[in-house]
Symmetry: C2
Subunit: 208 residues, 2 copies
Amino acid sequence: MKTKDRIIATALRLFNEEGEPNVTTNHIADEMDISPGNLYYHYRSKDDIIWQIFLDYEKKINQVLTPDENLNYTSMEDMWFYLHMIFEVISEYRFLYRNLIQLMNRIEFLKRHFRRILARKSQTALNIMKHLAEIGSLNADDETIASLADQVALTATFWLNYSIAIYDDNFDEEKKLSHGIFQVIRIVAPFLNEEDKENLNQLSAQYL
Amino acid sequence: MKTKDRIIATALRLFNEEGEPNVTTNHIADEMDISPGNLYYHYRSKDDIIWQIFLDYEKKINQVLTPDENLNYTSMEDMWFYLHMIFEVISEYRFLYRNLIQLMNRIEFLKRHFRRILARKSQTALNIMKHLAEIGSLNADDETIASLADQVALTATFWLNYSIAIYDDNFDEEKKLSHGIFQVIRIVAPFLNEEDKENLNQLSAQYL
DNA sequence: GTCTATATAGGGATAGAC
DNA sequence: GTCTATCCCTATATAGAC
């Protein structure tokens, strides 16, 4: 693994663990046993590093948000799986979400790109729910569906923060993921038909 | 107004406008036309200032969260009014919400106290909804009600951030408030009886 | 590509005069 | 209570040798 890539990997790990504002370029270099000068040979600035990490994130999340031919988004298993992919990416780049407003404020590009991603997330949620309504899994009028999609997007975006704010930061990462997925599904659950609701209960029992 | 109080007022305004991490003690002193030394005569540290502001916030939010004898929380007008009070306090101290995780991380006391407030908010939401269910305004089983209360608390906490993330930061403060209130009410709306739903539509039309 | 050494800047905070 | 002057520290970033 080249130094250039190791910097990204190390920075990402430290940002997630300590929070981006608490991680200096010196920390990153120190953690890797290279000199700060070396780090700055590869990246012009700290924001440049963040920007490169963001591009990785953007690529991954866009992949997940691009409709997958192998998923038909009809069964609750598919939904769970799909949400799991989303939350996995969020979790991998969680430092972005933890200091979202500040980062958007500081890095103009990041603001514009992140906004676009959020819009795509909302839209995807809406599409899936419309589809569920069409096949009769979900009973709700258009207005309610729109509201649910917003709710889902907001919850997916801030669930990790909420969870940190309420509970403690240091409990099992996988548990926290499942918890978030469960939380999102609970939004939609009351509008599902009985069969799917039952499926859901079994899935929750399995993962929580 | 004494200097000690002016510092708090100025700091709060700047924190809200610029974001707490972007406001230095020098900025605050400069804005007030006093010397940094003077500022440090009144408060030992920047975190001390933040802490004092937080105490004001805590007092106000606890007042709102304490059941008011003059409100019976039955009509949608009451609900709107009540939510408006909550969102008003949140908006007045919005810098706390914008950098919540980082602040909780840095100031241990703030973490503990804020957590308690969040718990109270959830609990209050739950109580109100149970009450609405009892008097027949709200049709939902206990599990759904619990889920709705969580949703409401999460939305109230992060709506401002979500709104900043999606739209722009610089649009009418009052509009943003109403929008948040509306967002919270939309969560509950599908479970209301027809009469209350109709009331709600009229209220929304009036404020949005 | 990597190191050492260092420049630069800014923020938090204090000392001591008035 | 308030000011001026200043200290200390840390963070980002660069220069130049190897």
